[in-house]
């Protein structure tokens, strides 16, 4: 420090300051000096620690520590389920980019090639939640990586909670994207039912094999199917007759619902067999 260093509070005066016996006028200068002087502060610390050895300083520090040793904001959620399922920033980012990708993709298609936008939407819509679910099953998206795999919660509901969350977010994005294409509220079943069925099926099958492979196969199959409906030999124009899809065909709808429910049941029964969390 600067010129202040030339003068220091005497030990006697410091002692009186610690014991509250210093005269008021002297107190003011002691206090002002203490703000500036390392040396006198450490003298004071010495005096105080000898006066009250090992007092409740420790307790005060412990209480300060208790108040700063808390988890960061996004993780502070009170319920374990919510906290754990939202705890993966990587999954969050991946889900968001899938969702934004779907919305932007459909919007661009609607603007550039309005007639192709509907087939594209019907093609993409059920695949978005599938991608969301598959992402959730990758061990790489867990903040604790491989460490998480050997924990009790990892064998249980954690991947499923995440899959529910990320595929749900993808479905919301699809609903938003449906604004850009001529799909009415009545046609929700056209994209929602295949979406639910495909996602549930992939999740169920993933208890046997790598969900990525299943998802890829199904995605190709679905894309082919939609392409055939739209541009196949029976319809030579680029248009998709929604009524020809699932809407009027109750049998198809029932089948999709059955696949969804059946897959959910299989998943429940085999919920401990996620291969992603126990390699073969």
């Amino acid at each position: 420090m600067t010129s202040v260093d030339q003068w220091h509070v005497s030990n006697h005066e410091l002692e009186r300051y610690v014991n509250h016996t210093v005269p008021t006028f002297a107190r003011a200068s002691v206090e002002a000096h203490l703000l500036e002087c390392d040396r006198c502060r450490s003298e004071l610390n010495l005096l105080r620690s000898t006066a009250a050895p090992d007092g409740d300083d420790d307790d005060v520090w412990l209480r300060i520590a208790d108040r700063i040793d808390v988890t960061g904001r996004p993780l502070r959620s009170s319920t374990t389920a919510l906290r754990v399922s939202t705890s993966s920033p990587l999954l969050l980012a991946a889900t968001l980019s899938v969702a934004v990708g779907v919305v932007i993709g459909v919007a661009i298609a609607a603007a550039v090639a309005p007639r192709a936008s509907l087939p594209l939407f019907v093609m993409l819509a059920p695949l978005a939640p599938v991608v969301g679910a598959v992402l959730a099953f990758q061990t790489g998206i867990d903040p604790a990586g491989q460490l998480a795999m050997a924990t009790p919660l990892a064998s249980g509901r954690l991947p499923y909670l995440r899959a529910l969350l990320s595929s749900g977010a993808a479905l919301v994005a699809v609903a938003v994207a449906s604004v850009f294409v001529p799909v009415g509220l009545d046609d929700v079943a056209v994209w929602l039912l295949p979406g639910l069925a495909l996602t549930a099926f992939v999740v169920a099958v993933s208890t046997w094999v790598d969900p990525r492979r299943v998802a890829l196969t199904l995605a190709c199959g679905w894309a082919l199917l939609v392409a055939m409906w739209s541009w196949g030999p029976r319809r030579r124009t680029i248009s998709l007759d929604l009524s020809n899809l699932a809407v009027e065909r109750q049998s198809v709808q029932l089948m999709l619902v059955a696949v969804t429910l059946g897959s959910a049941a299989v998943t429940f029964l085999r919920r401990h067999e996620l291969p992603g969390w126990r390699s073969r």
């Binding site: 008021t24 200068s29 390392d38 105080r48 409740d56 420790d58 300060i64 520590a65």
Partner: protein, 195 residues
């Protein structure tokens, strides 16, 4: 809070008994706190808690309130270390936080306005304070000693503790206008005594 269990204790002891003394300056410690160095906060606590506790105890006789204010102060240091500007000593910055945390702790409960006031960011000490430190302590001390008790308290609260007139009024239990008039009188008297 006697049930602080052993695990916590061992953590604290481990921290406390870090063998080598920390060679970092106060400002470096604050910078380290910005980088979430918990050890740096503990070192700041070890260095600054004693004088802060004693000085606050002169302003408030309730030990538990002082302790709470000290706690709040270091939690605030942890939370807003990035707001520290290296224009003055770290101790002065800590004092600025500490005296306001004490005011906050001592506030009559349930007053929204006071709570809002306490949220204000602490400022560094005034230029008048710097001047006081620079002057040899005997003169100023004597000049201060000659003031009547009510004037002296006002000088201490505003000049030495760095409080605004409103805050000083709250600490002393008088209207802020009275603080202002007493402060003018005190300045005049002290200037006469020093010249």
């Amino acid at each position: 809070m006697n049930s602080v269990n052993q695990a916590t204790r061992s953590v604290a002891q481990l921290g406390m008994s870090r063998g080598c003394p920390d060679g970092r300056s106060d400002a470096e410690l604050v910078a380290a706190v910005v980088d979430r160095d918990r050890g740096a906060l503990q070192e700041l606590y070890v260095r600054h808690e004693p004088w802060l506790s004693i000085r606050l105890a002169y302003r408030c006789s309730d030990r538990s309130m002082v302790e709470e204010a000290v706690q709040d102060t270091f939690v605030a240091v942890w939370g807003s270390a990035d707001k520290f500007r290296a224009t003055g000593p770290v101790a002065a910055w800590i004092w600025g936080i500490g005296i306001r945390r004490l005011l906050h702790v001592m506030r009559p409960r349930k007053s929204l306005r006071e709570r809002l006031l306490a949220q204000r960011s602490p400022e560094l000490l005034s230029a008048e304070d710097e001047l006081l430190v620079g002057v040899e302590h005997g003169d100023v001390g004597l000049a201060l000693g000659r003031l009547s008790p009510e004037l002296r308290m006002v000088v201490q609260a505003t000049v030495l503790d760095g409080l605004s007139c409103q805050e000083a009024g709250r600490l002393l239990g008088i209207p802020s206008g009275t603080v202002k008039t007493r402060m003018m009188r005190a300045k005049r008297e002290m200037r006469e005594a020093l010249t």
